[in-house]
Symmetry: C2
Subunit: 754 residues, 2 copies
């Protein structure tokens, strides 16, 4: 677990220490309350009826028998949902995904819901709802969906980003193009050009905790929602907009979250639960089953990607291009665009062009999954980079170092980089003992790079000092990966007090201003920035109070190491006042002591990682085992190194599962065949090696402490690193993720037969 802090001179007292996690005891003793743990007197059980068809017209829904069942308090269909069809297509699409209107658009699409006094009654009621379907042609494959004769998923979707605007609806919702220079000229200068196509299959974030909420909405338009989410303020705004409520009248309280990874950034059954509650005039709890989570929450895209890279004999890339086709499920999104933006972000390129396509299919609406879209693009690009290096006879690390982006590089997606970490991570890889370790038979080593933007966004933080000097930090960003500890460290650092004096809490939406989602690795970056500013405002108040207590002008008070110190010779007899002493006197010096901050935390620093991976492939079965794995990543300032390492390891672990095993398997009928953890296999502990990490702290100049996001970049390289390792182990290039045993055997067979 190496940790390089040499990139900055900034010194910290508590930031960077590995303090105990504040949620640890709650989580190991079972006291932590997750989404399904909320309850309210008189609550009902909500269940959702889902389409068994990939694409079908809903001719009629007969709910009469269900409504008559004793114990059923509400049955809702799209007829009970607001009709947003006119006016706001975005909201319409969000709500239609929560409850199908005239058509079921994928296997698992909600078509009706019930609220009943208990689970058995609710299940029975679902069986009594009769839906008349007319099956329609469907398409689930992204390449198939782009064909001219493919069934059209949405008649209101016309391709955006092409000239002239098409007159016919299309499954291609958007074409996005990025790049600069002249790629044709660049390829003409190349000595070596490699072109290759890749596919990746759809995966799920696999969070342990299913979606769950408790909704209570009254006839007065006032409601509450308790929910597991990555962003309760955004959920509030979305649900309020969908149901025509004022945001201030809907109070959303977030639970502990049992994993999200992007999948808990969208509303799924929450608006339905609110409508059930309003109709039943009772609180309604809806907890998804694992089957529902797979079929009807938001997995990642499946993709199909073509990459072309040209380089000169001396190892300089002259041109790079890619066409990236991402499926979004049945609603327009931006995943193909993000793939096109991220694909070449690691490199300093004169000529680069990427084209992304966002494509509709009859699958669940896609959600973010940790650095969404980047892992698939990196798989395609980094595999090809290895092929070019091999063709040139160059070491793949040296080849990457030669072409790596650096400060001043114009990124392929537009902006010019400030200080960045791709070069240092590659140097660290080159010098890492892992690279010199011996490999045995059937083993191979691969490495790959990854990039993620990191986001900032709107953030509010309050800091309140208790009468005993203990500090409450109130934040609005959901703690998905340790941000409460990190933010406590930041507030303690700024105030100059021990970490133990700070408790960080995530407030409900009625108690704090708006906060954007915990996504884009923004939690600690943005709330950390707001915490620093709130602490600085608090210090101003502390200085004023100390001035009152010491009877000196406030200008004479300095805040030093958690104490108010009166400066100047004339005050040299005055003992400093601790925060605790000032807090104890606060009732008589002006009342409660607090600081507040509302900020748009822009300029989250971009993040880069380089991963090294050793695999052993069993040539008999095609089974691959990762035997060694090293993550090197630029973290910016690592506020709490344990958590940073945990993020590095977690991303790598998920990437390993994605690379080797996980995939949505659709039948010819367009229905999902493996909606459960028995058939959709995520890696368990025994599947994984120890994942070693190396933190490089290249500070983000746009954050007072140099913080960058750290949570997502670590999932970007694994698909490619493992692909390169497997290819090196078996001598055959793998171009389809997951590289499951059957695919590896097939690739070996094809190679043997060619």
């Amino acid at each position: 677990m190496a940790h390089d802090t040499s990139y900055t001179d900034q010194k910290f007292n508590v930031v960077g220490t590995r303090v105990k996690r504040p949620d640890g005891v709650d989580k190991v003793t079972g006291r932590a309350r997750y989404g399904a743990d909320a309850s309210a007197p008189g609550q009902l059980v909500g269940l959702i009826l889902r389409s068994p068809h990939a694409h079908a017209r809903i001719k009629k829904i007969d709910t009469a028998r269900a409504e008559k069942l004793k114990g059923v308090k509400a049955v809702v269909t799209s007829a009970d949902m607001p009709d947003l069809n006119v006016g706001n297509r975005d909201l319409f699409a969000v709500l239609e995904n929560c409850m199908a209107r005239d058509r079921a658009l994928y296997d698992g699409h909600a078509v009706a819901a019930v609220a009943a006094v208990d689970m058995n009654t609710a299940k029975q009621a679902l069986k009594l709802i009769k839906v008349s379907y007319e099956k329609l042609p469907h398409v689930t494959d992204v390449d198939e969906a782009m064909k001219p004769d493919a069934p059209i998923i949405q008649d209101w979707v016309f391709t955006v980003g092409v000239e002239p605007t098409p007159k016919k609806p299309s499954n291609v919702s958007m074409r996005s193009e990025f790049g600069h220079g002249d790629v044709e000229a660049g390829f003409a200068q190349a000595d070596v050009v490699i072109e290759k196509s890749y596919k990746t299959e759809q995966t799920h974030q696999g969070y342990i905790e299913p979606h769950a909420c408790l909704a209570s909405l009254g006839p007065d338009g006032q409601g509450e929602l308790w929910v597991t989410t990555q962003g309760h303020f955004v959920f509030r705004n979305t649900c309020a907009a969908l149901l025509g409520l004022e945001v201030s009248r809907l109070k959303v309280t977030s639970s502990e979250i049992g994993g999200g990874f992007g999948g808990k950034t969208h509303v799924w059954m929450e608006p339905v639960a609110l409508v059930l509650s309003r109709k039943a005039n009772r609180p309604v709890k809806v907890v998804m089953s694992r089957d529902e989570v797979f079929r009807a929450s938001g997995p990642t895209c499946s993709t199909s990607i073509d990459v072309k890279i040209g380089a000169t004999r001396d190892g300089k890339i002259t041109a790079a291009s890619a066409e990236l086709r991402y499926q979004d499920g049945p609603y327009p999104a931006i995943w193909g665009m993000l793939g096109a933006m991220t694909s070449y972000a690691c490199y300093d390129l004169k000529n680069v062009k990427t084209v992304g396509y966002d494509v509709l299919v009859n699958r669940p609406k896609v959600a973010a999954y940790r650095a969404p879209s980047a892992p698939m693009a990196a798989f395609a690009v980094e595999s090809t980079v290895d092929l070019v290096a091999a063709e040139l006879g160059m070491d793949p690390v040296d080849f990457r170092i030669l072409n790596a982006a650096k400060e001043g590089t114009r990124a392929s997606y537009g902006p010019t980089y400030g200080p960045i970490g791709i070069g240092p991570t590659l140097e660290a890889v080159k010098n890492h003992p892992h690279m010199r370790a011996k490999l045995k038979k059937n083993q191979g080593r691969g490495m790959a790079c990854g990039f993620w933007f990191n986001f900032g966004g709107q953030t509010c933080t309050d800091l309140n000092v208790g009468i005993d000097g203990s500090v409450t930090l109130t934040v609005g960003t959901i703690d998905v990966g340790g941000s409460r500890a990190a933010l406590g460290l930041i507030a303690a650092e700024e105030l100059g007090i021990p970490y133990d004096m700070v408790k960080t809490n995530v407030a409900d939406t009625a108690s704090l201003g708006h906060n954007d989602m915990t996504e884009g690795s923004r939690g600690t970056f943005s709330s950390g920035m707001a915490a620093i500013f709130a602490a600085r405002e608090t210090i101003e108040v502390l200085r004023q109070r100390a001035a009152v207590m010491l009877d000196v002008p406030v200008e004479a008070i300095e805040w030093k190491e958690g104490q108010a110190v009166a400066t100047g010779l004339e005050h040299s007899n005055l003992a400093p006042l601790t925060l605790k002493e000032i807090a104890a006197k606060s009732p008589t010096t002006g009342g409660p002591i607090a600081g507040h901050n509302e900020v748009v935390a822009d300029n989250a620093g971009v993040s880069f990682a380089s991963h090294i991976c050793d695999v052993e492939v069993d040539p008999e079965t095609g089974a691959t085992r990762v035997i060694r794995y090293t993550v090197v990543q630029d973290a910016g300032k690592a506020i709490h190194p344990d958590y940073v390492e945990g993020q590095f390891q977690g991303g790598a672990a998920q990437g390993i599962g994605w690379a080797l095993n996980e995939e949505y398997i659709y039948g010819k009928d367009g229905c999902l065949q493996n909606a459960g953890f028995l058939d959709y296999r995520i890696p368990v502990c025994s599947d994984l090696p120890f994942i070693d990490t190396q933190i490089l702290e290249i500070p983000n100049p746009n954050h007072p402490y140099g913080v960058r996001g750290v949570g997502e970049t670590s999932i970007v390289p694994p698909l490619a690193a493992i692909g390169n390792a497997v290819s090196n182990a078996v001598g055959v290039r793998l171009n389809h993720v997951p590289m499951s045993p059957p695919r590896i055997l097939k690739a070996l067979e094809e190679a043997a037969n060619s």
Copy 2:
């Protein structure tokens, strides 16, 4: 329902309107969540074992059999509570009242507690706890307790306020003296001197909702408490101090409150629930039964009061004195002191002296009850004032007007009054049609005055503007009487927007700075002040954002009627921006829009009331019926007149119950004989007349809107007004509250026999 707003020129748009109450639908549909409605997974049922003796040494508590009972998860006694005996007597007393140590000090005193998986197991466990008591002599009457040979309740209590400090412990915990001038000289100048003694019995606030909490405290010193309380921040600080926790690590969430009236200002079983939870490592819910509420929460004092008033023939009071003996239960308090302070506050007196005694007895620890201590003092003083007026042959209203305090009067308890309302309320009474209505046989009319200080204190408020322009006002004062509506009106007034755009929420202790209790009628006064300042800070932000949107200097922006208006000729072409428009753009103009305020809201204006009451007394049974009742009170600015009238009526209703029926009846064994609503009779709707009100808005100069507290003063005059009315009806002076049928019959008998 008269309403006089002529005392100020200040104009309001929404303040003063009778908008719908925001908690109305919740409360009538049962959605509102009270203390007992909290729940957490795995929660246990907590029950408390209580002393059956008025005073007893606890020789031994054998919990072994209870602990072995299947389903019992924790048993606690004082041995499990921190020993605070050394160091902090105040904290020690609070904790000992929650759980007796070596002695049970009153019938109902907690001696042990259990947490079990269900109610039946918990009940069975209580029966298995064997407590060995040694009964000790007890005293429950305040006058008896002051006698030299009375059993001493606390050996560590020595009378405060006497010189020299006594060497022997005493049941008199404090002697308090107030006044000015020379009363002996004053009485010498009097033509008429009346001396009389009075008694009032102990009553309970009678809130519908019993005390209830759910406690969860972990081995890591972090905990949560959901509780019905008048002050969750104070509960947090108290529980943290009692149990040695940091205040920031204990999160307290308040429920809706089903009445408090002062009785929910102290912790009772909450610290015990926390200790049970920590020992069981599970959440524990404790809900008091009505029996427990009566025996072991905090009723008001019983009192014994001597009053002496002298006046000249022309109706001028020359001297007034009183000795007031209040029982506090088994722990020192300040109720006698408050009685001594309030007794003559309505009058402009040259010579006045009051002496209060706080006295310990073997009864439950006394809590506040709506203007605590003032009703009993007013009963004694206002009865005597009527006697003096009668002796002088003067109209009792004219006599009071002649002697009423006014601006510049030095109050009997020390300060000099600013603008006050006692004179105007008396003039209003004099002119009220009620005073001229005819009375029938067996009917009598009485009137009386009352005073309350009103409190201010520490308050924090946040105001956040949503993306749709709806406003969330976050407060920390519990809404016991409509403050959410009132505070919403105040924020709307200040921002210049409709009331419907504001939603007021009471935050938990992890989401806002410290707020003092909702007591002393301070809720709307102090949080209203903080809301005004927070709204003004918000307007500054709105102006800045508007300046960005309009591209003009912020100095050119004025906030007028809910809109940002660019001033000056050069900006005359710019359309004003509404709050909604500014909110919609906030993500790109600087982020969330908010204002905050922390304040010590000092200088709550004192409040006065004059009540008129007609009664009919059945001479056969002694039963009294109130047939007409009018409240005239100085409210300061009435933010929401419906609620102000509700407070006036509620206080009068409780005063009527106190005056005529309610009392704690103790047996010779010192045990409470009527711990239930069947035997302790509070008035129900059919017992009460319509209570008419007249609001006088005499503005409090220390509040931006002129607000005074309104919730308490209305309970001060009823005992005396009814006493005067009953005395006028039956021709005999009643000097013992409650004036229940047996007491009235007894007084009539005694008068007939004398």
